[in-house]
């Protein structure tokens, strides 16, 4: 995009492009690792006891959370120094993490579909772990995973902003700022769960927007 496009759009495009690279690596590593585990379990136990791919769910929540936190704290200085507003930065970050969350949700659902096909073909029972239940309908699974992964990313944005603004004092706010992904990590995929996650995630987005608008930009760190 050129410098004439809206600032928020440029920020969203830039952050999304950068994040997609890490997303690709994440899924490549996770899928390969899950495939190896599946093969080992097949060899040792006769069949995997549950859906191995379903355990990636937690990584799909917390890895984008970590990436979002790092990206926010590492790039807000450059963004404002380059003459762009905090408003465009936070809107770009929120849009980027929604996009990445949806991408992750689509990929997660796709690998579960593929894994199920393999399990059925091998005559294995396809069941989720007790800690990572899978919705029986793939459409529901898609929505559920998208909401969960968006929750992780947006929470990372808010946590990054709070630490940038308040330093170590932001730790006191962690019970609130990481609430959406914690809920997403612990509850069954019922409609109520999705609604709760979506609501807390929306609140996270609003809080991020409000937090970012008045942040003072720190001096650049001196490099040794």
């Amino acid at each position: 995009m050129t410098a004439t496009a809206p600032q928020w759009a440029r920020a969203a495009q830039r952050m999304t492009r950068a994040s997609l690279v890490s997303v690709a690596w994440f899924w490549a590593i996770c899928v390969i690792a899950a495939a190896v585990v599946t093969l080992v379990l097949d060899w040792r136990m006769g069949e995997p006891p549950f859906s191995i791919m379903s355990t990636i769910r937690y990584g799909g929540i917390w890895y984008p959370f970590s990436v979002a936190l790092i990206v926010v704290t590492a790039t807000i200085n450059v963004h404002v120094a380059a003459g762009m507003t905090r408003r465009s930065f936070v809107i770009g970050a929120l849009i980027s993490n929604v996009v990445i969350g949806v991408v992750n949700g689509v990929v997660m659902t796709a690998v579960l579909v593929i894994e199920r096909g393999i399990y059925l073909d091998q005559g294995w029972s396809f069941a989720a772990t007790s800690a990572a239940p899978i919705p029986s309908a793939w459409g529901v699974s898609l929505v559920f995973h998208c909401v969960m992964f968006v929750a992780g990313g947006l929470s990372g944005v808010l946590v990054g902003l709070t630490y940038y603004r308040w330093g170590a004092w932001a730790t006191a706010a962690l019970p609130l700022t990481v609430l959406p992904p914690i809920i997403a990590s612990g509850l069954d995929p019922a409609a109520l769960t999705v609604a709760v996650i979506a609501a807390t995630t929306a609140a996270t987005a609003v809080a991020s927007y409000a937090m970012a608008r008045t942040i003072a930009i720190r001096k650049p760190l001196e490099m040794s």
């Binding site: 995009m1 050129t2 410098a3 004439t4 600032q7 440029r10 830039r14 790039t75 200085n77 450059v78 963004h79 404002v80 120094a81 380059a82 003459g83 762009m84 507003t85 905090r86 408003r87 465009s88 608008r213 008045t214 003072a216 930009i217 001096k219 650049p220 760190l221 001196e222 490099m223």
Partner: protein, 292 residues
């Protein structure tokens, strides 16, 4: 594109209990090169940070091109503050930061940026974090010059550069300013090197405005008087003496103020030699504790 005008009224910046800028007001006309001078802790960086929308003022107002700059997309896109060590993608090569600024700055000149990178001899294959302090300073200068922002500010960015690089920067700045006039603010401790660039000076002292003047007016308000002690004392009675030193029967005094031409002629007639004072010397004398 012409430069932005700057209007600051009653600007105050506080960090907790510390007042960094205290009720400062000044105006800068567009398309000039201004020196923002002050001792360490005088409030220069805080003032520049407010102009660049890095922070909001605690009190007072700032207008750039007639509008408040904070979170104003139009104004912020035209204001550039290059800080020491720079705001760049430190773990990436130069090309990443140049691309970042190219998509951010409406007036960015990519070809000029490439020429500047070569002029400063910067390594395009290494991450910026591996650069020396002087090289990082030089890259900051590249960004500041290539963005051609209507209000461009450099905050001590040349401190880390060696002398040849600094003079290269000054020459490049002047040449580009002549072709693309804009408002430029230079904050530096190396006043003797850069005073030739200034059209105006703003001096801050302990967070307060000491003066805001055209540089030529500033220079002509200072003079050194050297001669026999008695004659020098007689001539300088009633004038603001900012520095004084004696060597035997001879005394040298630096005065600052609206100097009376007739008084100066009388001083010459009395055998007192009158000389000019550089911006740096005036700055040092005016900000000495004894002269306040």
């Amino acid at each position: 594109m012409s430069g932005f005008a700057v209007s600051v009224r009653d600007l105050t910046v506080r960090y907790g209990r510390t007042t960094a800028v205290d009720n400062v007001s000044f105006d800068l006309e567009p398309d000039g090169i201004y020196g923002l001078l002050g001792r360490n802790g005088s409030g220069k960086t805080s003032t520049l940070s407010v102009l660049a929308s890095m922070r909001r003022p605690t009190a007072g107002s700032v207008l750039i091109d007639g509008a408040e700059p904070f979170e104003n997309e139009r104004v912020m896109a035209g204001v550039s503050l290059i800080r020491e060590s720079g705001d760049v993608l430190a773990n990436e090569k130069i090309s990443a930061s140049l691309a970042y600024y190219e998509q951010a700055r409406p007036a960015w000149d990519a070809q000029f940026a490439d020429e500047l990178v070569d002029a400063f001899g910067l390594n395009r294959k290494k991450a910026i974090s591996t650069f020396s302090r002087g090289q990082r300073s030089a890259f900051g200068a590249v960004i500041g010059l290539a963005c051609r922002a209507p209000l461009t500010m450099f905050d001590e960015v040349y401190l880390g550069m060696d002398a040849p690089s600094r003079y290269r920067f000054y020459d490049l700045l002047l040449a580009d300013y002549a072709e693309h006039p804009r408002t430029i603010i230079l904050s530096s401790h190396l006043i003797s090197e850069i005073e030739r660039l200034f059209s105006g000076v703003v001096i801050l002292d302990e967070g307060r405005l000491l003066l805001n003047e055209e540089v030529e007016d500033f220079r002509t308000r200072g003079a050194t008087l050297t001669g026999p002690t008695a004659q020098v004392d007689a001539v300088t009675a009633g004038l603001r003496v900012v520095a004084s030193r004696s060597l035997g029967p001879t005394k040298e005094v630096t005065v600052f103020g609206d100097l009376d031409g007739a008084a100066l002629d009388a001083a010459r007639a009395a055998g007192v030699a009158i000389g000019g004072v550089g911006v740096q010397d005036l700055f040092v004398h005016l900000t000495e504790k004894e002269s306040r």
